[in-house]
């Protein structure tokens, strides 16, 4: 289909090293990554029509760090800027919508997370329901374990299926230079590991990662001016379910992912590669089913969130990995999925396409 001025593409991307512990601040990671993506598109900071980032002050424990991060944009003369306290992929969605207004033709979206400063076993209690869950210290691993238990009890998957997800992601991550966790693992040995939150084992949890990623979007003809092979965002949708996991229709089948997949038009063509954002291993199986993907779709050639999990960045990395498949690997239609909130509360699906 010929592209119109309402079509929006990823024209460049960049990411920082993904480290267990970076010695740099969020702002420093942002500087090299955001400016790196802008430069990769052949642009300068003054050429960007809209700038938006996703981050969370509670990760680094530094109040107003999202304001300090504006230093990485060179925001003088003043720029058009926004921020979401969500993954950078949701920031990208805002940039996409902003571009549709038609008055600007470039935007940059970034995600950054210095997660190594905090303890995931306690931090995420404050994202839960403040009356019914936070006072119980309800941690994200425990809630995910309850979802995993419900999935096992449904009979849809076994612990072995889930261990195979871990082994496959870690094996795929061997080819990902940015992976923090990779290698060949025996499924039986994985199954012999002790539970940290029955039925979750340590390898079912994501690693702690510091990092940053950014994409530059361009609208219509501008995309062809900035790169040889624009990665067109031909469908994007984001759905949300009730905050309390116990109020969801069914924790073992992600309704919001299914609706987002329908909205993004997943089924209107073959999907060669899907990058799924599943911070807890078993969630990949729930998402995969909800996306309606067949066996011919390659899942997470990057190793996914189990290979590196810079919170607020992991979803945008899925978009970048799916975009790379088109820009650098000759694929023509890929999918990126990202999630937010406890037990897959929110889900975003986007379809990326290259020109034939």
């Amino acid at each position: 289909m010929p592209r119109t001025e309402n079509d929006i593409a990823i024209v460049s991307y960049a990411q920082s090293p993904l480290l267990r512990r970076s010695e740099n601040t969020e702002t420093e990671m942002m500087l090299s990554t955001v400016q790196g993506a802008i430069k990769a598109a052949g642009l300068g900071k003054g050429d960007i029509g809209f700038t938006v980032s996703g981050s969370c002050d509670y990760l680094s424990g530094r109040g107003f760090s999202f304001v300090a991060n504006v230093d990485a944009y060179g925001a003088y003369p003043p720029i058009n800027e926004s921020h979401v306290e969500m993954d950078g992929s949701f920031a990208m969605y805002e940039a996409f919508v902003r571009l549709l207004q038609g008055d600007i033709d470039t935007a940059v979206a970034a995600g950054v997370g210095k997660t190594s400063n905090s303890d995931p076993a306690t931090l995420y209690t404050i994202e839960m329901d403040p009356y019914y869950l936070t006072p119980l210290g309800a941690d994200v691993a425990s809630l995910s374990a309850l979802q995993y238990r419900a999935l096992l009890d449904s009979g849809k998957v076994t612990e072995r299926d889930v261990a195979e997800v871990v082994a496959r992601n870690r094996r795929a991550a061997k080819d990902n230079l940015n992976a923090q966790v990779s290698g060949d693992f025996d499924v039986d040995e994985l199954l012999a590991a002790p539970y940290v939150r029955n039925p979750l084992r340590r390898h079912d949890l994501p690693p702690v990662t510091d990092g940053c990623a950014a994409v530059v979007l361009a609208r219509g003809q501008k995309a062809y001016e900035l790169c040889e092979r624009p990665v067109w965002i031909t469908g994007i949708d984001h759905r949300i379910e009730p905050h309390l996991p116990t109020m969801r229709q069914d924790l073992t089948s992600s309704v919001s992912t299914r609706l987002a997949a329908e909205g993004a038009g997943v089924a209107s063509g073959p999907v060669e590669v899907a990058e799924i954002h599943a911070p807890f291993s078993f969630q990949e199986l729930i998402v995969r089913e909800a996306l309606g993907l067949g066996d011919d779709t390659e899942i997470n050639p990057s190793g996914g969130a189990l290979a590196a999990n810079p919170v607020m960045v992991t979803g945008l990395l899925r978009v970048i990995e799916a975009a790379k498949q088109i820009a650098e690997n000759g694929r023509s239609r890929t999918l990126a999925h990202t999630t937010s909130g406890p037990c897959l509360q929110q889900n975003l699906v986007c379809i990326l396409e290259g020109d034939q």
Binding site: P17, G61, V70, T122, G183
Partner: protein, 344 residues
């Protein structure tokens, strides 16, 4: 498994404990629920043909007001999913191993997430549990006023599903909430350079090769040009300057506030540069006599007594406990046109 280069742990700063106590107002639905909990009674709300427990203010299916058709639920219920916490954190309500579980209370149609105190090998879907309430002055009217334990009698709860008559004025109207998180940040390279210079009695700054602006403090980038400023752009800065801006702060007591009398925080532009240090202390004169244009010189703490432990990343020109403050030199004031754009 390969963990790529990890930052040197010796650069970790002191743990930082983030706490903030606050009081949440509850509104009618939550007030009614927590007031019932304080009486040892669990309730739900009937909406859209089902009983939601604990009650919500809205029907999650439709978004409609859930109303106030209260229903007694529990105290016994049935586990439908569970996980086990072998090593609780300080935020968990019990300090030994316990389970989190989905518990559907008798009389309710939806499960709640709560604590079950039971050995791991007893846990299973279908396990009958009962609420055990705190007593006496341990009762707060909060969700952690009770935990579940295996039911001694698995039979259906008496009175579950019957209407609950709420008091006109529920007793529990607010909830004390508390945040208690510990962070360990690590000193960025530029922060280490800045604090080391302070320990040696020096101020250092970095000058942007593109715009010529100089930034003093733990700053590794030009925020105007968005370029990195590495150590090659660094030089030692003068220790005299001009007050370009100030405010007099009358302290109100809050946790961590050490000041009791009105005090000054000012910006100081360093002589011969365009670099400004913010949030500086003036010493030697009363707060009422501080003015812009005043020439000042830096007074250091004695060598060996300079404390830089509270200087974090992004403190920019923070001098922490390395200096006493800036002392007026007595020179004639600087004309305003020489610092008019350098207020911060």
């Amino acid at each position: 498994m390969t963990d790529t280069s990890i930052a040197d742990p010796s650069n970790d700063m002191e743990p930082f404990n983030l706490q903030f106590p606050f009081t949440r107002t509850l509104g009618n639905t939550l007030s009614t629920f927590f007031s019932a909990v304080a009486q040892g009674q669990l309730i739900g709300v009937k909406v859209g043909g089902r009983v939601i427990a604990p009650p919500l203010e809205y029907d999650p299916e439709t978004g409609a007001d859930a109303g106030s058709e209260w229903v007694k639920v529990g105290p016994r219920g049935t586990v439908s999913a569970w996980t086990y916490v072998p090593e609780p954190t300080h935020l968990h309500p019990v300090q030994g191993p316990f389970a989190f579980a989905f518990v559907t209370l008798d009389g309710a149609d939806t499960p709640m997430i709560h604590v079950v105190e039971a050995p791991e090998d007893q846990l299973r879907s279908g396990l009958r549990v009962e609420a055990r309430f705190k007593e006496g002055d341990e009762v707060n009217g909060r969700i952690d006023d009770f935990v579940f334990v295996p039911a001694t009698d698995p039979s259906p709860s008496e009175g579950a599903g019957e209407p609950y008559q709420a008091p006109a004025e529920p007793e529990i109207q607010t909830m004390d909430a508390y945040c208690d998180l510990t962070y360990v940040d690590n000193a960025a390279p530029v922060t280490r350079v800045w604090t080391q210079a302070l320990l040696e009695g020096k101020l250092v700054g970095r000058t942007c090769p593109q715009c010529g602006r100089t930034f003093v403090g733990a700053v590794s980038l030009c925020c105007v040009d968005a370029i990195e400023l590495d150590e090659s752009t660094q030089s030692e800065m003068p220790q005299t300057g001009v007050v370009t801006n100030f405010t007099v702060i009358t302290p109100v007591p809050y946790p961590g506030q050490k000041e009791t009398e009105p005090f000054v925080r000012c910006s100081v532009m360093l002589d011969g540069t365009d670099a400004v240090l913010g949030q500086q202390t003036i010493v030697g004169i009363p707060a009422s006599e501080v003015r812009v244009g005043m020439h000042v010189a830096l007074e250091w703490e004695p060598e060996g007594q300079r404390d830089v432990s509270e200087i974090g990343n992004g403190g920019h020109g923070s001098t922490g406990g390395a200096v006493v403050g800036w002392k007026p030199t007595g020179e004639p004031d600087e004309p305003a046109e020489n610092y008019v754009d350098r207020m911060m």
